[in-house]
């Protein structure tokens, strides 16, 4: 017979006492087998320790006051029976069905606030004799706990307007994929990727420009101290700041009218980075000085073939 640790037994007894409205000490004594249990079957009285063997159905399930029905039945699914234990046949070997599971679902399932405040009913079942008149070998089922369906897993999905992924979404995706392939093929046929002279460490081109997505930064470097523009701004704001957005913006609404500040700030960021990038790509010439692309030409090799306004 397995020994049940003292603290488990105690916790179990407390939960059971709470469920049945009995004093803890009494229940504990019952569970230890020190005190007679009211309905313990005769052959199990001499069993000193509780066992893990599920006990047969109780003669009386503890009273659970019926909950008032919520006004909206859709929002509150009926309690789901989540655990049903089968009792072994009466002829099962081992000690007779004895006392109680070591720790019946004791902690109350917290109401997660999504529901309507109905309590999750957690039922501890009193150990008992099999009811008379049940033939040998018949399996019984016993209700272990009643848990509000929503508490563990949302069983019933909220009704939403859905369509089949196939064909509705897949067709759209496939079309987008084909369009992108076609676009890229045409682009790559028309425009040659730049290839200048071989790398030469002794000949610095003027101007020297970073790839376009870093040109906004390079542009900022020409206004601010590098410690600010080159590093602090992009790493702190760019990386950490962007990752933090969901944790800074506590506004739960997604309606544009509710998030004017967020949208404004992001739009300023977008417009700012676009302006800086365009300035860096098109309007910077030799010495990274300002130049007009329509006068001096485009000083960005990836773009020369795209928009050659003449010049150079």
């Amino acid at each position: 017979m397995p020994e049940i640790p003292e603290e488990l037994l105690r916790r179990s007894a407390e939960a059971k006492a709470k469920a049945l409205g009995l004093p803890v000490e009494q229940v504990l004594a019952e569970m230890r087998g020190e005190a007679p249990v009211a309905e313990v079957p005769a052959e199990s009285v001499d069993v000193p320790r509780p066992t893990f063997v599920p006990s047969p159905p109780p003669p009386s399930v503890p009273e659970i006051p019926p909950e008032p029905q919520p006004p909206d039945p859709a929002s509150a699914p009926p309690p789901a029976i989540t655990a049903v234990a089968e009792t072994p046949p009466a002829a099962a070997e081992g000690p007779a069905p004895a006392v109680e599971e070591p720790a019946p679902a004791a902690p109350e399932v917290p109401d997660n606030g999504a529901g309507n405040g109905r309590l999750a009913a957690t039922v501890s079942v009193r150990p008992s004799v099999p009811p008379a008149g049940v033939p040998e070998g018949v399996r019984h089922q016993r209700l272990l706990t009643v848990v509000k369906a929503r508490a563990i897993q949302q069983v019933k999905a909220d009704p939403t307007d859905k369509v089949n992924t196939w064909p509705h979404l897949m067709i759209a995706e496939f079309t987008a994929l084909l369009a992108m392939t076609a676009f890229l093929l045409v682009l790559s046929t028309i425009l040659q990727a730049p290839l200048l002279e071989a790398a030469n460490f002794n000949a610095t081109p003027n101007p020297s420009k970073a790839p376009w997505y870093f040109l906004g930064l390079q542009e900022m470097l020409s206004y601010f101290d590098p410690q600010i523009a080159g590093v602090t701004v992009p790493t702190v704001i760019g990386i950490v700041g962007f990752m933090m957005i969901p944790y800074i913006d506590r506004n739960p609404s997604t309606r544009p009218s509710d998030r004017k500040l967020a949208i404004m700030l992001f739009t300023i960021f977008l417009a700012g980075s676009a302006t800086l990038t365009i300035l860096g790509v098109l309007f910077r010439g030799p010495g990274f000085n300002f130049a007009y692309p329509w006068v001096d030409g485009v000083f960005f090799d990836d773009l020369k073939d795209w928009v050659d306004f003449g010049g150079h």
Binding site: N164, T165, T181, L185, L191, P194, F214, M243, F266
Partner: protein
């Protein structure tokens, strides 16, 4: 006589067997085993709601898409397909990149000549290189636009906060992939763009010099940098980005699919 008969018989048997096998393959068993129930390529596919579910559910696509999606999410105007296109561009870049790898050696002596040959001599070399370069620029753009789209929809709000973080990491990895690829042609454009870019990294406070040294494998761009960035570009960064992509896509589904309408 008997040996000829034996060989003849064996051949006949083998031929019968082969024909039989081919017949079975194409007449059903092979196709049946390849296509799972509900595939639209299967014989006798009918357009029923049940089969529409099976197309996704019995398919590797089930890793990416649920059987049903919200109706508004299908509208092109909602997502503009930007996330999907970013992923598709990543695949295109992988395919074209593998092609380029056959003809490219990341050494200071070979790199430039190889890229020149790709642009002029090798069949489809120019097309593949152009697609790789323009596709890379386009991917940076689509990833950035995807982020903007997600922001304007407020789609980063709970329960999708963490997926936004993963998305920012993916944007960063995309930039790094593009930047490491920028050096590989080993021409003046590559060399000096990378010099300017890594100089900016040198401005990082406290560890700037170390970061720059680790990036370049020295104090300035050298042939060692070329090899280092090549390995980062074709192995390390794709490996990392695929992991984050998997998490990103998985979280999209686990966080409740596409975000709600405005």
């Amino acid at each position: 006589m008997s040996s000829r008969n034996g060989i003849h018989g064996l051949l006949t048997k083998a031929r019968t067997h082969a024909t039989d096998m081919m017949g079975r393959m194409w007449s059903g068993q092979f196709m049946d085993s390849m296509l799972r129930p509900g595939s639209p390529f299967k014989k006798g596919y009918t357009d029923t709601p049940r089969n529409r579910s099976y197309v996704i559910m019995n398919n590797v696509l089930y890793h990416l898409h649920p059987v049903k999606v919200k109706r508004h999410g299908v509208k092109l105007s909602y997502t503009l397909c930007l996330g999907g296109l970013s992923f598709f561009l990543f695949i295109l870049l992988t395919v074209t990149g593998i092609f380029l790898m056959f003809y490219y050696a990341p050494t200071a002596e070979r790199a430039y000549i190889d890229v020149q040959a790709l642009s002029t001599d090798i069949a489809f070399g120019s097309l593949m290189r152009n697609m790789h370069r323009w596709g890379a620029h386009l991917m940076v753009l689509t990833v950035f636009l995807h982020m903007s789209r997600v922001f304007y929809h407020g789609a980063y709000k709970p329960p999708r906060e963490f997926n936004w973080v993963v998305g920012v990491i993916l944007l960063l990895l995309t930039l790094l992939l593009s930047f490491t690829g920028y050096l590989l042609p080993w021409d003046q454009l590559a060399l000096w763009a990378v010099t300017v870019g890594t100089n900016m990294a040198g401005f990082v406070p406290v560890i700037g010099a170390q970061v720059k040294f680790a990036l370049l494998g020295g104090v300035e761009v050298t042939a060692g940098t070329l090899l280092r960035w090549y390995v980062l570009h074709v192995l390390f960064l794709p490996f990392i980005i695929v992991i984050f992509l998997a998490v990103h896509f998985w979280r999209v589904r686990k966080d409740g699919g596409i975000s709600g309408p405005l």
